[in-house]
Amino acid sequence: MTSGGLATFVVRRLAAAMALVAVVSVGALLLVRLAPGDATTDLVLAHVDEATIARTRARLGLDRPFLVELGDWLAGVAHLDLGESSAFGRPVADLVGERVLKTAELASLALVLAVALGLPLGVLTGSRPGGLFASCVAPISIGILSCPPIVGAFGLMLLALGTGWLSIAPGDPVVPALALALPLAATIERVQSQATAEVLAAPGAGAAAARGLPPWRLLWVHAARQAVRPLLGVAGVIVGTLFSGSLAVEWVTSWPGLGRLLYDGIVGRDPFLVAGCALSGAVLIAAANLAGDLARGLADPRVRVS
């Protein structure tokens, strides 16, 4: 890869990322418009009279034609002003900023735990696909994966409550990070296991062994580097979804992250909040994909990244 090629690559990806952000935000605003009900709907439940509801709608800017609303919002985005959230009464940019940090804290911890657990386990089970170790670990991984996230989160909370080994104090990230990390570790283990087994079964591995490469080096250096390729391919999606926050875990452990924010925006029919969350999600996933592709290019220089 020439440096010129790299620069073109990055520029094209950035352009694509910006287009993504634009489409997602417009799409989000449009969808909020189309969904039944708006931010003033729950005022009806509070017995607020129609005149006040109309006034509130005007104050929140919900009675503007869609294109005007879109135009105003895009103009605001240029100054990094993402509008005001009707559900929280604060600027969306502040809300998203706070929550991104909290989600990042959790996601980083979960990612580290998951990779530390899943990657080596996957390599080990992949190296001996029919062995005893693999036969034990694979069903456990699948069992963890079959567990719906909310049940897993509750299960962990109940475990923490019952045994007292883990703290479920409000600000403590350990339990939510574990709840996020376990299914992710299982995914990583499965993908890595498959890929490692394939690489080891390929002729190249046999040739390397015949050349006298010690087995551990074969496994952990040669094979793992090649096998991590499909993992890096999906890394973008994984990291992107992780950093967009996991609603189930955040809900159960009341961690103030992006997942809950988006959900509050959906329930409260809050157009700017949803658009803001979608926008930040788009930025995160584009960045994660870019990083994943670059890493893949580094891991295997034969790959022609275009």
Partner: protein
Amino acid sequence: MTSRRAGVGLLGFVAVAALCAPVLAPNPPDVPFPDRAYAPPMHVHVLAAGGLHAPFIFAQTLHDRLMREYRDDASVRHTLHWFSRGRLVSLGDDDGPLLLLGADALGRDVFARLLYGARVSLGVAALGVAGALARGTAAGGLAGSLGGAVDLALMWMADLVVVLPGAYLVLVLRGALPLRLSTGAVFWLMAALFAASAWPHVARGVRAIVAAERARDYAEAARAAGAGPLRLIGHLLPAARGFLGVETVLLLPSLLVAEATISVLGLGFPGPSPSWGGMLQEATNVSVLAGAPWLLAPAAALCVVALAVHLAAGRPMLTSSRS
């Protein structure tokens, strides 16, 4: 390859059980039995005073409704009836319902709901996975082998699908569709939604594998021999077979959860027809989970199905299609 056959056999067994639900289930799935809310599973005994008996259960009585306590009355025995009233096994008319996996919050038979629910949930999940795999493989294959603008465009679409708030799409659909939807309509709609939302993960993985394969010698050789793009893809795709097998195992549980999420947003299977996602959603209550773990039967069943798929996918074979 015994494990492979075991996996396929298990899948077949599950499919047959689901299809024969009306015969296998001791009770209809939507009838709330009075005084049976959160009833625990009944134990089938064959040993009693005086040796072996035809299988029977002890009568289950409600002891404390609020505390959800049930007792078995050891003095009253109800023998199981076989092949009566079109059902494989059941209890006599006045003996109450046979609750092999206990009852849910409304006193409905969990085992029956599990069997009937398998038809819709597994069917929708299978269809969704197939759709996602097909779409993802096509997109990933094209992106990985052709590269360039095609790659950029396809992966951009994948990102779009991941980031767009799908929940809102479901809400808009819910608002636009008529209030009353038939089970069939929901079935196809959900399968389509799954396929449309789950393909990015598959596409990214396939793309990475195909892109790496493309640079290998045999691919260069094929290109030199004049193979067109589609034929080239045909050569490269088999390398992704193993990954697709893993993806199937990964997708099945996540689609089940997606089913539950979609039903929260209002597009779930209507009314009394049970589905695994719906059953799990009703059971998600921490006080209930601790005291009535049989309500998690769908998650356990799903685990079995996922394991079966894992076994059936087999160990990674030598991808010897390349030579």
